[in-house]
Symmetry: C2
Subunit: 408 residues, 2 copies
């Protein structure tokens, strides 16, 4: 098959991240270099824009604008969670591809988006329409199979680290219990990142609860009490996805009336309920007065000005690599990130089936035997991803002044 000549279409899908625009910028910058590309289009709101023929002209944007996007969180093209299911949808997508001579389709997203690319690829090829369809990884959950890590995760992890550096210092200033709830329904990578906020002995988080391990409210209360006894305070990181032995979310267990989506999944993000329920549990059971809970919510994936430079560079490179693979490899696939040094990465083109609709969770070697902390392997895994100039906490050595009075 000779090189495809025609137009590029780029789409963004699923939850936005701090660097998902950098991948668009990478594709556009790279595609502009090649004679085989005539136009570079974006689809608004992912496949929804494809179905509605809502396309925009990315090549007409100034290069300056495209570069500036690399530093802007959120999905500049808009995104969606729509799944292509009906034959009418498939036909419409092909119709739009043909009408606009789309020969390169790039879709940036998580495992559901990879599945969308797989379906589009199958439909196009079975109908004999020549096109390259590539999935570009993105998710703050870091739950894509076959990737060392996924763009978006390092910046979100950096947010969690910076948040817990501060939460630990705040909690040390006014001691009590602090519960910070972190995103991640199935994979605990983002919650585990909180461990890298620690610098000095005694620093929190003192307990980390991941969805990879069963959450037992009784054991949780006992462990908080133990940490409180040892440190006079306790900082806890909890994944929104913690669940009981049967896999039922703790949120649903503690609050049977919790909101559910049409698939019956309990809504975990965009609500402070889990943090509040865990705080109430500690208050009721331990009688500790100062208990505070925060839910990091959407801040962790969108906060402007908290980006890992490593993440930003890789998000752009994964877009560039996607275009190069599309031009030089005669197959569709998903770009994946492979760690090849300490610290260096390579990009590969893997099969769509390997990543589509599958979920990676934290490997056992990354979780401490007790289940409430991470291992040194996790620390070594995450540290290079956090980027440069991570804020550093300092503290007083606090040499005591000898007392001169009897106790007051």
């Amino acid at each position: 098959m000779s090189e495809l000549v025609g137009n590029v279409l780029v789409g963004q899908s699923g939850g936005p991240t701090s660097v998902i625009n950098a991948s668009v910028a990478g594709i556009v910058a790279e595609a502009l270099n090649h004679e085989c590309i005539e136009e570079i289009y974006g689809t608004l709101n992912g496949v929804l824009g494809l179905l509605q023929e809502d396309l925009v002209d990315l090549a007409s944007e100034s290069q300056q604008q495209i570069r500036a996007l690399r530093h802007t969180p959120g999905a500049a093209l808009g995104t969606c969670r729509y799944k292509l299911k009906k034959q009418a949808d498939f036909d419409r997508v092909l119709e739009v591809f043909k009408a606009h001579n789309i020969r390169y389709f790039f879709y940036i997203g998580g495992n559901d988006s990879a599945d969308t690319v797989r379906i589009v690829s199958e439909q196009a090829h079975s109908s004999g329409y020549p096109i390259r369809c590539l999935h570009i990884p993105k998710t703050i959950d870091n739950d894509l199979v076959g990737n060392d890590h996924t763009p978006g995760f390092p910046s979100a992890a950096r947010f969690v680290v910076q948040a817990f550096i501060g939460a630990n210092l705040d909690n040390a200033s006014l001691p009590g219990i602090y519960v910070g709830v972190v995103m991640g329904r199935h994979a605990g990578f983002l919650t585990a990142a909180s461990a890298l906020a620690r610098k000095f002995p005694g620093d929190g988080p003192h307990l980390i609860y991941l969805p990879e391990r069963t959450f037992d409210p009784e054991r949780f209360v006992a462990q908080v009490k133990d940490a409180q006894d040892r440190h006079g305070r306790c900082v806890v990181a909890v994944s929104e996805g913690v669940h009981d032995a049967d896999g039922a979310p703790i949120l649903a267990k503690l609050a049977p009336g919790a909101e559910r989506d049409p698939h019956g999944n309990v809504q975990l993000s965009g609500t402070g309920a889990l943090a509040d329920l865990l705080c109430a549990l500690i208050r009721d059971r331990l009688g500790i007065k100062r208990i505070r809970g925060d839910t990091f919510g959407y801040l962790q994936r969108s906060f402007a000005g908290c980006v890992s430079d490593v993440d930003q560079r890789e998000a752009r490179e994964v877009g560039e690599a996607a275009f190069q693979f599309a031009r030089t490899h005669e197959r569709d696939g998903s770009v994946r990130i492979k760690r090849v040094g300490d610290y260096a990465v390579d990009y590969e083109l893997g099969p769509l089936e390997a990543v589509a609709a599958k979920t990676r969770v934290m490997e056992d070697g990354l979780i401490s035997p007790a289940g409430t902390d991470v291992t040194e392997a996790f620390d070594a895994y995450l540290r290079p991803l956090l980027g440069s100039d991570l804020p550093q906490a300092h503290r007083l050595r606090a040499k005591p002044v000898p007392k001169r009075l009897r106790a007051g």
Copy 2:
């Protein structure tokens, strides 16, 4: 009265901020320059350390360590919310002052802390003990009377701005309703800061609810619907302190079982309840599907790596100024920040009574007539405080590609 010769004692009080340590650093650095100062002590956990004679030696810390503190959020000396009330407390404080030859007492905090300084000052002088007692302003709420603004507020405001820049982009990517709850029981400055996140027409926050105005749930629902109709989405900033016409917190009204402190005040921070209740209200009344609420919680006062350089400099300078006032003015007082240019400040020594136990709220000229936005005067007031290198959002101009098909 001649210059007092003796020791300095520094304490931190109330809620920590991102720059409260910079004020300690300012006092220590300045005090080290003067022969009249023999030792520089810190009291652990504010007046609690005074009562328990828990003092630490700040002059023995390396200058490097003191400088590094300027960039570390939280209160390095620890803090407290303890109020001196009993005569036994007053006597004990004086006893500790005398035992350690404390001749300069600096207490960094809000209006309650100013009241503590006022009491200590009165007690010391009525007993004939020569000492200078100074209050140094600090609060993210920006609610100290007589100050243009207070250290800690600009950095917290910067956090709120960066959070809403991101929240607006995230919400534009996946349209729906977003409610962000911001700290501030009585003063809406921090919530109002969200307005400065806007850059392009149509950017959120589209509605801002301040404790300076009565919150009517019915009107709230109608205003959200209106914004949704106009923008296809709606980003809302709400102060945790919003209340009804009788002054009752909305949180207490919507959730009668909300946690209360020993004084009967509803606990507003460290819980996601208000955001969840407002989201439920919108869901029930408007039937909109995608509604998310975040409570910024303790992140807004402690997040490591989100500091206004203007705030950091002023927090240090207000500490330096405090020491200079204490050495050269023969009266106790509260240091206050006065704006003298665009943008420049001076520091003055005001009376303790002017700030102690009083609360400043947003002046009417800073709030839009409709009550759900700020004025240009507020924008001009806040912008120079946010510091340099504020992250900037960019967006695609998104020139549409002409459609070639009938609607799908």
